[in-house]
Symmetry: none
């Protein structure tokens, strides 16, 4: 066993370094564009060690998803359904800021998730089964705020397509947007938050109020 008392200077255990390197490389190149050699090089380990810990490139992807997507959704749930978002805009903005900070730190994961989710089935089925289970858990929070059963499904659809998706897209696209349109980050984020509140929060408020 190496590193009995983990040296502070960023020398994490090899297994984690591999996971982290893979996360970055997958995010940059996509799963199929990623090279195991590059992951090894960035993790500072021998390529064979990757196969010692994770049995294949695909299993490595799964390992990345397993823990992290769950963690993201766990954070997203309460945050998105904090009822203070409907009370005053200052509160809504504060919550959005926290949420975006949190998600931006996981942007690599979101990139991978989104890229993989867009491959046409059946190539894609394996990964979406995993995702569906997680969304189900996220939606239990949505469901609890909906009284009329006929609105349940619409609430889910809305939370996903006008909530999660723009949020994820912002996190994934904001850098390139800044580059393409020459906007600074603060301004772009402010515009996005404002737009998101006006669009998604307004719409969900209507829906949830009807269901009180």
């Amino acid at each position: 066993m190496v590193n009995h008392e983990a040296p502070e200077g960023g020398v994490a255990a090899a297994k984690e370094r591999i996971r982290d390197a893979a996360l970055r490389v997958f995010a940059e190149r996509g799963f199929d564009g990623a090279r195991v050699d590059e992951i090894a090089k960035r993790a500072g380990v021998n390529k064979a060690l990757i196969y010692y810990y994770y049995e294949s490139k695909e299993k490595l992807l799964d390992a990345i998803f397993q823990g992290s997507v769950e963690e993201v959704l766990a954070e997203l749930g309460p945050e998105l359904h904090d009822t203070r978002i409907f009370e005053d805009e200052a509160a809504a903005v504060a919550i959005m800021e926290r949420l975006l900070d949190f998600l931006e730190q996981r942007q690599d994961l979101l990139r991978i998730f989104l890229m993989e989710s867009m491959k046409r089935s059946p190539v894609n089925d394996r990964i979406f089964i995993l995702i569906a289970a997680l969304l189900d858990r996220l939606f239990s929070l949505v469901d609890s705020q909906i009284a009329r059963p006929e609105d349940m499904e619409r609430a889910r659809v809305m939370e996903f397509f006008t909530g999660l998706i723009p949020l994820f897209s912002y996190v994934v696209h904001h850098e390139i947007w800044m580059k393409a349109f020459g906007m600074d980050e603060a301004r772009l984020r402010a515009d996005f938050v404002r737009s998101f509140i006006d669009a998604h929060f307004t719409a969900t408020e209507m829906l949830y109020k009807t269901n009180k």
Copy 2:
């Protein structure tokens, strides 16, 4: 041995068959996951012929983008800014239905575009230069409806992140959503259209009214 005397009706010219096959394969597997062999097989042509018409796999991707993304945005612009969407909901729904039909027919293109756009730069820069130019054209329509210069950028941000992105996401994700949550298409689409109108159209209406 292939069709010496190519029947003029139904059997497309080889060059187009290649483009079509590539579009499908890229959409299923992503650019890096796609195999030139499979494109050739689906197009019913010899692999070398692909290199005769398009000089590389990458150029083939470019060829797919060139005409089509432009065409999609050309349609999207007027449609999205048809002012009748603010008048009555029936009109808004009708316009949305037409738009979704149109986009669903181009879903393969959207998949490829979205997947590629999510790779982290700088891998990604080449494709986004193309996109930025196109968005610029699309936004000229947005800009024309905005009087106050300080709202211009926000209008663009809104149209992209709460407009285009959910729309594209619906087109790309609706099949897997149906499979994952057991919803039928009509119901899912109705829920999405309603959600989109409540969120995006409501928000843009506010913004555009302020700028009248």
Copy 3:
């Protein structure tokens, strides 16, 4: 297509050169010890071409077996059951000489067959299914000379274990024997032929006579 009119100087079509090289390398190193790189080098082709013609190392082994084992058994059958072997020793010796010449030209194939047949099942099952079918055909000749059903199985057992196997073993082991005991080929072969006639031919003659 290369080599329209096959140049006389040993430049066979690539596919055959691969097969021949594989035969030699498998015989020298065994299937698992053989390296595809070496096969390519000896065949004078690019490694990828091997996979163009044969889809895997295993399929290449199968391809080698398919044609050749059949051919060997086709020759062995009539030869072994030529009734002249019982008439006078000169005839028996002549037949044995021809047979050994024939088999020695196929010694690589025999080596591979024997090596693979000795792996313990179930690793081994795939190859023996092939072999069993071929032996069945060989044994139809044996069966035809046996009148009493209760002797049928013994005839097969005898033909295999005291006939085929010593024959194959001689072909496969004679070189190393010469080296180990310093015998010259003519002498060794004469001794073997004499021994084989005394043992196997004598025993089968008894059995077949009883069944007249």
Copy 4:
């Protein structure tokens, strides 16, 4: 963590467990097809321990051969030259039964020996030097029964190719034969013993009588 206080009965010492596991794995897959990982797993030890006791995979093979082949030949010699085999068939059958029982218990060793002996030289030379020495010792028994020097070599050839080889082949092939032709073990063995006696014993009897 493994057996700190090794129970003296039943749990063999690690070194022996490794040797036994290697014997089985080599017999199943051949030397080149065998994996050190699998040997370690079957022996229930850490892979590195194999290198502690035996310094390489090849040395492990040598270790297996060293004691055992010698032991087999030591048993074979007297057994095969027990003169009672010529007296009455009942005695011959009894001796054969004992011999086959003995060899079947060493069938893994025989498989490995035979497989390795069939690789074409020079890959193969190392192992045959070992074998030649052992055969030499075995043949000293043969030689002692031969008076005429010109028959000495033929006796050796006969003992090997029509004696040892069918015997070994039976041990190694009988399982797959049963499977392929649906014979039960007792019947197959009886047929083989009978055939072997008729072929090999008959032939050697002739030879040895001439040399009395």
